[in-house]
Amino acid sequence: MIGTVTTRPAVWKSYSTWANRHRKWLFAAPAMIFVGLLIAVPLAWTVYLSLTDAQGSVRAESKFVGISNYLQVFADTERFWPAVLRTFTFTGGAVATEMVLGMGIALLLWRPFKGEKWVRVAILLPLVATPVAVGMMWRLIFDPNIGFANQMLSWFGIPAQPWLSGETTALPTLIFVDVWQWTPMVVLILLAGLTALSEEPDEAARIDGANAWQRFRYITLPLLRSTVVVAIVLRGIDALKTFDILYSTKGKGGGSFHEVETLNVYAFGLSFDYNDYGIASTVLILFFLLIIAIMWIVTFRRKEDRS
């Protein structure tokens, strides 16, 4: 369209020159304005709401209460701090397991073999499955009375477990579900990193007599370091924000004892199940700061390592 510029009127030409000269911002600005508006405005609004006693209807009057919401949340050892702990337990448990399993599977898939294609297809399926459907699927499998999980245990003479409905077993069970769905993601990322590695250092170490564990520990793992960090960061961000499988299996408030209530579920419940917008915004701001802090530490340490 612009290639035929010579046949267009002079005005068009000057527009075209202007557009080409400023294409950097012309291209980038719409997306940045879109994201900026959808982040900056809501974030400012959330900060404002966290300083008010807004609740009930969206149009209800609210008054400015200063930092009293923050004091209230910090003093809340019944819902807030347990939710913080659960968020860390869930994220730490899920990401650590996924990294270990993912590394194992990726190493096994590393060297090409027959039937590799089928394994790759198989691990892709959990990854693209709709999380809500995944939640429902495991809900049936882990059902204490009719679920296949307990049926399988009974073959080995192990007593039935409450799984998702138990106060202490629900969170580990959901970590398992998360591991089932997202280990493939770690496998794919690590496999991409492994495939990009040159084989020479590995071969050299092999000739020098290093065993497989030594080669993995001192050659492959250090070379793969940045990929491992990428995998941890990507999975960490998503695991901290996990909502779908928690809410679809346990419903409002993370179950009757709040046994799987992470910060995300807690904030969602405060906002849309109880319409307690002021407190909800406070929890959200704290949650947001927490994520930023973790990301900052991870990326900061990464830069430090490199220099």
Binding site: M32, W45, T97, G104, L108, I123, S226, K241, I291
Partner: protein, 294 residues
């Protein structure tokens, strides 16, 4: 390494303890071991999905009967119930419509932005867009709900598409940036020498050459939107309800219709899995974009 996996399913121990030492010995056992572990892995990843599929063909009586775990008379009743009675075709259309438009609009906004950010090394600007990937959705949902509710927009397609774009846009920018980073500028430069303007070269040379990247970004963004639950849970109205929300609403009654629930779950996951099977290459490329750069 092995210490950390004691709480995980049995397979993890096998992998982490043995896979590596076995190779050292170069014994014949390693290939067999590898096949065995990988087969187990495949079974563990696939079996639950098959279980869902099998249950969707059972009557509720059969689901409750442990004697009929594997042997039963398949029935299509669950599907006809779900698709016939519950306006499921409307929900399928809603999911499709929202995913389609949020993907298209995000591509229009995101691809030029990714191009500029890649070619002009706009690291800080890229951070702004990628922030959207870090921020928890709930923290935006509350103010969005406030703003859009006061504009009487909640329940319409517009708000839903807008919210899904918020997930799709950072994803597309991220994937396309790493795609443009790895693309040489030679052809673009040649096109400019031959008389095209910079924008002309982008439109006529770079974009056509980016087809694989665009496919990757588009497919992934479609899948993420199709699977999205939280935004639709709050922002969708009775007429714009998407499939994940419809499935969630299925269980809000006293007793669960397991057969119906499983067939509804199959209806939402199967289309996305079929897409995934045919576009495997692109999905893997998108999910691992930028992973090897560090």
């Amino acid at each position: 390494m092995t210490d950390t996996v004691t709480n995980t399913p049995a397979i993890s121990k096998d992998i982490s303890k043995r896979a590596v030492p076995r190779r050292r010995r170069k014994s014949r056992a390693y290939p067999i071991f590898r096949v065995a572990v990988l087969t187990t892995t495949v079974v563990l990843f696939i079996a639950p999905l098959l279980w869902m599929l099998v249950a969707s063909f059972k009557t509720n009586v059969d689901i409750y009967d442990s004697g009929k775990t594997f042997f039963f008379t398949p029935t299509l009743d669950n599907y006809s119930n779900v698709l016939g009675r519950n306006n499921y075709f409307d929900f399928i259309f809603n999911s499709f419509w929202v995913a389609l438009w949020s993907t298209v609009l995000s591509l229009v906004l995101g691809v030029p932005a990714a191009y500029a950010m890649s070619r002009f090394s706009m690291g800080r600007s890229a951070m702004v867009v990628l922030m959207a990937r870090i921020i928890p959705g709930v923290s935006l949902l509350v103010p969005w709900y406030f703003i859009f509710a006061s504009m009487h927009l909640v329940g319409g397609f517009g708000v839903l598409i807008l919210s899904h774009m918020f997930v799709a846009l950072p994803l597309i920018v991220y994937i396309m940036m790493s795609f443009f980073d790895s693309m040489t500028t030679e052809l673009e430069d040649a096109a400019q020498v031959d008389g095209l303007t910079a924008i002309g070269a982008f439109m006529r040379v770079t974009l056509p050459l980016s087809a694989p990247g665009l496919a990757t970004a588009g497919i992934l963004s479609f899948i993420f939107s199709w699977n999205n639950f939280m935004f639709a849970l709050v922002l969708a109205g009775a007429n714009t309800k998407t499939l994940p929300v419809a499935i969630f609403n299925f269980v809000s009654y006293a007793s669960i219709d397991w057969g119906g629930l499983m067939s509804a779950s199959v209806v939402v996951t199967v289309p996305i899995m079929v897409i995934a099977l045919f576009t495997q290459k692109y999905i893997v490329a998108g999910l691992t974009a930028g992973a090897t750069k560090g």
